[in-house]
């Protein structure tokens, strides 16, 4: 029976870890998690609720337990939060506090978490809740309800918290995986639309757009609105999903009062989200009645504009309340932009049609654009564009160049016809250079005319008379300027066609190539993005194999430079304990050490790192921005760079917050492109988080060995105790105690991994403490079994007896205890193999402000090159690995963090023979009042 119970519990925790690390469907994972909670705690009801803080509502996503009737009741509907004082059962303020805890007697008083009638009906008396958070963001709660009236044991609360941390991991991990899947879906959708763009009629194309929008966000309804500028009025151009015929007749007169919101939306670049349209105000949403009858609930609406002119709106609706994540909104916005561009392109084509009168040519252009959209490889794509361009304008001579925004040159990538010379050309010079600079086509009817005298520098062919230079420009590119996203352009290269005849190219030729050029630019951009993502995936794999934190960061920096093309990258980490943000890794400056020495700032100061750390904004500051560190920028030549500053928030552990700054030479670049910014942010965050997540199984694994040891020993004692001699029994209990001590230590590490330094600090448990008697001597005694096990001599741990009553401080005793434990256990674990060499000396010193406890040992020591690294998360010196196979490399990180939290510090004063750690304790703690 016992073995069965143990095995069941083992199964629960094994499934929990499997869920946290592998399950790919969020709702299913959370549902299974509640089931595991109910198994582990024997819940009558376990539910996991997520908050919609704006509305404010609870949306129940998962529920399990013995009380099945309750599940049916609660899963049916969203539950509104309100004010306890006004008689609401669920108290909004209480929920927003983000604190959990136990509550009793719920059938008499629901305590703001349950309706008493519901508690009575389903016989629920007591509950404990654990909040779910990602960084500082409150997501919801995990709740365990029972019919019991007795108090909860502290272990129940701890177990619930453990499950809550896993729920956070699940939510966070699956969100990231959903992002990647949506990204891939978005690419294939763009490709499919490119295919249809030229092969189907306008109406059919818009119909496909609406269907693809549904597919992209997995929503049931989409409406495409087209703007008639002259009336002005929005009319429905296409719909997808389950909509009736009335919808296609819907119109929105923009002259009507109350349409101000829509007009603003049309002019903006933002996406509008309404959680429930049937509850929206009339001046915000005009179709409330229709929405109610059709069952539309949440709305996401994106403006469509082309060449800075609004052309319509793209709306998607859900039938159930749904929260669209920020990145889902970003995808939707990009999709709307793309659609706008496509619609605009068909208009351009029609213009070509009007002027050329050659239907055959129009259809040919359509066909070419389709081929271009299908290209999978950049080289073939360039050939295709050039050959088809020449065909369209009946020429045999031409080339395509690509821009190098660093040198300001554009280099011929591919050419047709026999060139006189192929050489680098300058942006701004020659006809092609001017076309690139102005981002407009230039058509030359006769190069020998006065207008072009001394301008034509290309001299591609000696006998050229006519030329048509058309830039390859992405016109709807999103760029970051300051903290805002704006529409910008991105010049990729140029198509140049030439002819020995005068007036060889017509305005229709110009229009056709200009249309093709912009289309091709988008495709080239997409291929480049694909290549970047593929390369980053390779780097991701490399990172996953790195065991060392420092090596991981080096790969991250290399990936950013090599793949996204940033010449300079600086990752800074914030330290709330010291109130500073400091460069931890940099690439692209000559003297990295000198750079790091200068690049640190107070977190509450005005420097841009500190500011974006506080605000969470992504910023591309102007060169003269006074938040930049001009001294540093001048010293390291950063003034010439255009730079983006991105906050790094790594959920769920807020102690790993910092910034990443990346830039390239300003030279001929106007912008930092939003797509690159997002790729950079995602990559850095996911690389660092992945590394951190890898520590979790490592820690979990370390729990198994001592547990197996304790269980085996306890079981052996249970069966054999009567036959064993007293000495052996004593030794067995000592074995158990040693493993228990180790386990407690591991729990500290696990808490660090799962919870870290939470935004809401854990309340300090300060008490008057005689540091020697209550902490040092106590810890030495705790470690006795381990010391004996290693055959070391207890009497070689030396301290001055007169110090025992010397320091009495008002401190958090358990925390200080764990630091001392960590230092001593390291001295024991890493003692030299000859027990005669073992010695630990603990001395006390003091200065004006602090007591300094000096721990010296004569163990294997720390190599000087690892001096700084030993305090970094996950770092393990190779020598340590050689001594012990396992170990998380977190002990000293946690110890230093704790010391800084309590106002002191932990330093490595000497690295070898003796290894000497200084633990400074502020004397101010003497004066603290209770």
């Amino acid at each position: 029976m016992k073995a069965e119970a143990t095995s069941r519990k083992t199964d629960v925790f094994r499934e929990l870890i499997e869920l946290a690390l592998h399950c790919s469907k969020r709702d299913e994972a959370l549902q299974r998690l509640t089931r595991l909670v109910s198994l582990a705690l024997n819940s009558d009801v376990c539910n996991l609720v997520l908050l919609d803080t704006k509305e404010p509502l609870l949306s129940h996503v998962a529920c399990a337990g013995n009380n099945h009737k309750y599940h049916e009741f609660i899963l049916r509907r969203p539950v509104r939060m309100g004010s306890s004082q006004q008689g609401d059962h669920l108290d909004y303020d209480l929920f927003m506090q983000g604190e959990g805890g136990a509550r009793y007697n719920l059938q008499v008083d629901g305590k703001g978490i349950i309706d008493t009638a519901v508690a009575r009906k389903y016989n629920l008396n007591s509950a404990i809740s654990a909040p779910l958070k990602l960084g500082s963001q409150l997501l919801g709660y995990l709740n365990h309800f029972t019919s019991r009236t007795t108090e909860f044991a502290s272990s129940e609360s701890e177990i619930l918290k453990l499950f809550a941390r896993h729920a956070e991991l699940i939510i966070d991990r699956i969100d990231k995986s959903d992002y990647t899947q949506t990204l891939e879906r978005s690419h294939s959708i763009s490709l499919a639309l490119q295919h249809s763009l030229m092969s189907v009629k306008d109406d059919e194309f818009l119909k496909q757009v609406s269907q693809k929008a549904c597919e992209l966000l997995e929503v049931p309804i989409c409406i495409v609105w087209k703007l008639n500028q002259h009336l002005p009025r929005l009319t429905v151009a296409a719909t997808a999903g389950d909509v009736d015929a009335d919808v296609s007749r819907m119109q929105l007169d923009l002259n009507r009062p109350g349409s101000l919101g829509i007009k603003r939306l049309l002019r903006s670049t933002d996406v509008r989200y309404l959680p429930d349209v049937s509850r929206a105000a009339a001046n915000v949403y005009q179709f409330r009645e229709k929405a109610k009858s059709a069952g539309w609930v949440s709305l996401l609406s994106a403006p469509m504009s082309a060449e800075n002119r609004p052309i319509g709106l793209l709306d998607v609706y859900t039938r159930k309340r749904r929260y669209f994540k920020q990145w889902e909104r970003e995808f939707f916005k990009t999709f709307a932009n793309y659609t706008a561009f496509s619609i605009h392109k068909t208009e351009l084509l029609r213009r070509v049609d009007r002027h050329s009168a050659s239907l055959q040519r129009l259809s040919k252009l359509g066909e070419i654009m389709q081929h271009v959209a299908e290209a999978k490889n950049e080289e073939k794509l360039y050939s295709l564009i050039l050959d088809k361009s020449l065909e369209l304008v009946r020429s045999h001579h031409g080339w395509i160049s690509s821009c190098d925004l660093v040198t300001g040159e554009h280099n011929i990538k591919i050419h047709r016809g026999e060139p006189a010379e192929v050489r680098a050309l300058k942006v701004g010079r020659g006809i092609t250079g001017q076309a690139l600079q102005s981002e407009r086509p230039i058509r030359v009817t006769d190069l020998r005319s006065k207008r072009w005298e001394n301008v034509y520098e290309e001299e591609f062919r000696k006998n050229t008379r006519s030329a048509l230079a058309v830039p390859l420009v992405v016109t709807n590119a999103e760029v970051r300027v300051g903290a805002a996203i704006q529409q910008g352009s991105k010049v990729i290269g140029l198509i140049n066609v030439e002819s020995p005849r005068k007036r060889a190219f017509t305005p229709d030729d110009e229009n056709a190539i200009w249309t093709l050029g912009r289309h091709a630019a988008n495709i080239i951009e997409r291929l480049t993005d694909d290549q970047k993502l593929e390369k980053l995936r390779e780097f991701d794999r490399e990172i996953a194999n790195k065991r060392d934190w420092d090596e991981t960061i080096k790969v991250v920096l290399k990936a950013i430079s090599d793949t996204i093309g940033y010449e300079y990258v600086n990752i800074s980490m914030a330290s709330p304990e010291t109130n500073r943000i400091k460069s931890s890794h940099v690439r692209g400056v000559e003297d990295e050490v000198a750079f790091k020495r200068m690049a640190h700032y107070p977190l509450d100061g005005k420097n841009i790192h500190a500011e974006i750390f506080r605000t969470g904004d992504i910023q591309v500051p102007d060169a003269n921005d006074d938040r930049l560190d001009t001294r540093l920028d001048t010293a390291f030549g950063l003034n010439d760079l255009i730079r983006v500053f991105i906050p790094l928030k790594l959920a769920p552990d807020d102690s790993w917050i910092g910034t990443v700054e990346a830039g390239y030479r300003r030279c001929h670049r106007k912008y930092i492109y939003e797509r690159d910014v997002q790729i950079l942010r995602r990559f850095v965050c996911s690389a660092l988080e992945q590394k951190k997540r890898n520590l979790l199984p490592k820690i979990s694994h370390e729990f198994t060995a001592p547990i197996v040891g304790i269980r085996a020993t306890a079981n052996f004692l249970l069966r054999r105790i009567k036959t064993l001699d007293e000495k052996l029994v004593e030794r067995k209990f000592e074995d158990i105690l040693t493993d228990c001590e180790l386990l407690l230590h591991k729990v500290g590490e696990l808490e660090h991994i799962l919870g870290g330094a939470s935004v809401v600090p854990v309340p300090s448990k300060k008490e008057w403490t005689l540091v020697y008697r209550d902490i040092i001597i106590k810890t030495v005694n705790q470690l006795k079994p381990l010391i004996a096990e290693r055959k070391l001599d207890m009497s070689q741990i030396l301290y001055n007896n007169t110090d025992i009553h010397r320091i009495r401080l008002y401190v958090d005793k358990p925390k200080l205890n764990s630091v001392v434990y960590n230092l001593l256990i390291n001295s024991i674990k890493y003692a030299e193999s000859n027990p005669a060499d073992f010695k630990i000396i603990i001395n006390l010193d003091e200065d004006k402000d602090s007591y300094i406890l000096k721990f010296r040992d004569w163990g294997m020591g720390i190599k000087s090159e690892y001096r700084d690294l030993i305090f970094e998360d996950g770092f393990r010196a190779p020598e340590a690995s050689r001594k012990n196979v396992t170990g998380s490399g977190l002990g000293l990180t946690i110890a230093r963090r704790i010391m800084r939290e309590i106002g002191g510090d932990l330093l490595l004063a000497r690295n070898h023979k003796p290894t000497e750690f200084h633990l400074s304790l502020p004397k101010a703690a003497r004066g603290d009042t209770q």
Partner: protein, 137 residues
Amino acid sequence: MIRILFIDDERDRMNSFREELEYHYKVTFIDKVDEALVFIRDHLDDIDLLILDIMMLPGKLVSMEEAERGLSTGLHFYRLLRKSAPYLPVIIFTNKEKMEKEFRGEANCLFLRKRDYLPLELAKAVKEFFQDFRLIG
């Protein structure tokens, strides 16, 4: 009596397993890979069954890198052992569950997760495995 060689670097944690086995079998316990290799070389004929851990310091067996800092030492040990003792019954007794696939299909080899076994259960598993082995062998 079955003669067992038990190789595991966590001597103290394995004490209860060893002591329980000693009620039923003759057990030699060695906590260092290098010593175990010497012992096998000199006493292979005196061993009926081997119990082997995976995560151990590699000693001189292979480099730290090859042994993935000790995480796969037992696997290297097993492969080396099989060159001189292809038929010796071996129980892999480990917390390193992911290694199971490395031993799938291995003849005369049984993979046991430490967490699934109490001392007496290990003793029983040894008996059953050895009986099976003798039946087949």
